[in-house]
Amino acid sequence: MSISRPIPIPSTPLIRRAAAFQAALRRPDYRGLYLPAALVVLWSLATYFGWVDTRILVSPLETLKTAWHLLISKMLWVSLGYSLARDASGFLAGSIIGLLLGTLLGTSRLADRLISPTFHAFKQIAVFAWIPLIAVWFGLGEPAKIAFIALVVFPPVLLNTFDGIRSVSRDYIEVARAFEFSTLQQSLRVILPAALPQIFTGLRLGLIYAWLATIGAEYFLKAAPGVGNILIDGREKFLMDQVITGVAVVAAVGYVFHYLTARLEKRLLSWRTRTDVP
């Protein structure tokens, strides 16, 4: 066996272009910062020279100050805690329903034929349309909010669980039959791993929707401590800085969910990348 030597890379125009492209990828791109920076400058100028009513549009500095005060205050974190707890319970309830129903529809043709058409029609109803009904059925308290979040979470989880299970290759099942797997073994060793990526996609979507639904529930189902309440409160008192801070917190939490679930997905499903390269 010969010792592997690095192969000299020939220098053709295409390879040089590819190298330049790679270098460009590695270099951080600051161009994306110009637009937000310009907006902030415009915002500062507008408030400084009084082009806008400063009672409505406060200056960026003032907003930062308020944001800082909110960040070190207990109020924001307590609100965030309430919202996240609500989010988690709604997500849990919705995803359990979605997983169970999705599994049922995925494994049973009969259930699929009986339930799916109704489900697809049901899905077409804009979710917020349920709010008035939920308010009457569950009141305006915590159960109503959790019910609403669950209602938003379960369709994507159901759909993806269903798709995941349905896309398990027949060959796998045949192999499992050949090895005389029990039903439990077949579900745990064959169907679950094969359907898991798609199920995970559903759960991920569900989590992101759950956060939107949490804010929506706090918005429509009246006052309870929560991040949504910071927004409503700020709007009612015309505290623009508080509203902006609230919006930033909502967006940041959404982004954190997005990021964490993407990382988790990568880690949990890393065994997969060996078999199917996109």
Binding site: G32, R113, L114, P117, A126, A129, W130, P132, R235, V247
Partner: protein, 280 residues
């Protein structure tokens, strides 16, 4: 189902028994499909009617289906629902038109000009990450709770999926399509017309479809929040008067419109993209 179809197509090797169908086969099949589609709705409806007959649930909490149906018909006959629906549809129309065209232009620009993308894409991502409900309180302070707020929110909801799908649709066009175009010395306009548009159309269509669905969703949201007319308002009004039959009838209308939007779009889609099927 599938195996059966292939077998039919190939012709079964063995002698098939002569079947005497009293009713044509397709009628039997479509009857079966209809029956199983309607099974669950009818079951729910039956249970619902039963609970109200037996008085298990107070009518203030769940009015009987017959009452809901009567209200539904009455609301349509009196012109309340059509008027409100028309107002809502008009809002969605304007919002979707504005948001859809902005999204289309935006998607094309981002796909065609790398430097434009470099400047704008990060901000765009942040913009899309903040949900409509986050923008509503901010916008309310700027534009009030009038028509402008609704149109802007609907436009934003429609714009995001259109922009993203247009962008990705164009970016996913294989490089060699453009190489062929340059071999044929197509002008820039021709490239857009003959290469980009046909290749990216399915994706753009998906974007438009999602855009309209999201626009409808956003409409219901803003109308629930702040409006004095429209289908969302009709629902709020019903709730305030504790007339759940009005609420449920409105939900029905919202669902029907949502379903029609989806149906119409899939119909247009399969018609416009029919040429694609011939290739496969």
């Amino acid at each position: 189902m599938n195996a059966q179809a292939t077998q039919l197509a190939l012709g079964s090797p063995t002698l098939s028994p002569v079947r005497t169908w009293i009713v044509p086969r397709w009628i039997g099949q479509s009857f079966a499909v209809t029956a199983r589609t309607l099974f669950l709705p009818l079951l729910i409806l039956g249970l619902w009617q039963l609970t109200s007959w037996r008085g298990w649930i107070a009518p203030q909490i769940l009015p009987a289906p017959t009452i809901v149906w009567a209200t539904f018909v009455e609301l349509i006959r009196s012109g309340d629902t059509p008027t409100n629906l028309l107002i809502s549809l008009e809002r969605v129309g304007w919002g979707f038109l504005a948001g859809g065209s902005i999204g289309l232009v935006f998607g094309i620009l981002m796909a065609q000009f790398p430097s434009f993308r470099a400047y704008v894409y990060p901000s765009f991502t942040i913009f899309t990450q903040v949900p409509a409900l986050g923008w509503i309180p901010l916008l309310m302070m700027f534009v009030g709770i009038g028509e402008a707020l609704k149109i802007i929110i609907i436009a934003k909801a429609a714009m995001v999926p259109v922009a993203i799908n247009t962008f990705q649709g164009i970016r996913n066009i294989p490089e060699n399509h453009f190489e062929v175009a340059s071999v044929f010395r197509l002008t820039r306009l021709q490239v857009v017309h003959k290469v980009i548009l046909p290749a990216a159309l399915p994706s753009i269509f998906t974007g438009l479809r999602y855009g309209l669905t999201h626009a409808w969703l956003a409409l219901v949201t803003v109308e629930l929040l702040a409006s004095s007319e429209g289908i969302g308002f009709q629902m709020v009004w019903g709730r305030q008067l504790f007339q759940l039959d009005v609420v449920i009838a409105s939900i029905l209308v919202i669902g029907i419109v949502g379903l029609s939007i989806d149906l119409v779009f899939s119909l247009i889609e399969s018609r416009l993209l029919r040429w694609r099927r011939a290739a496969f």
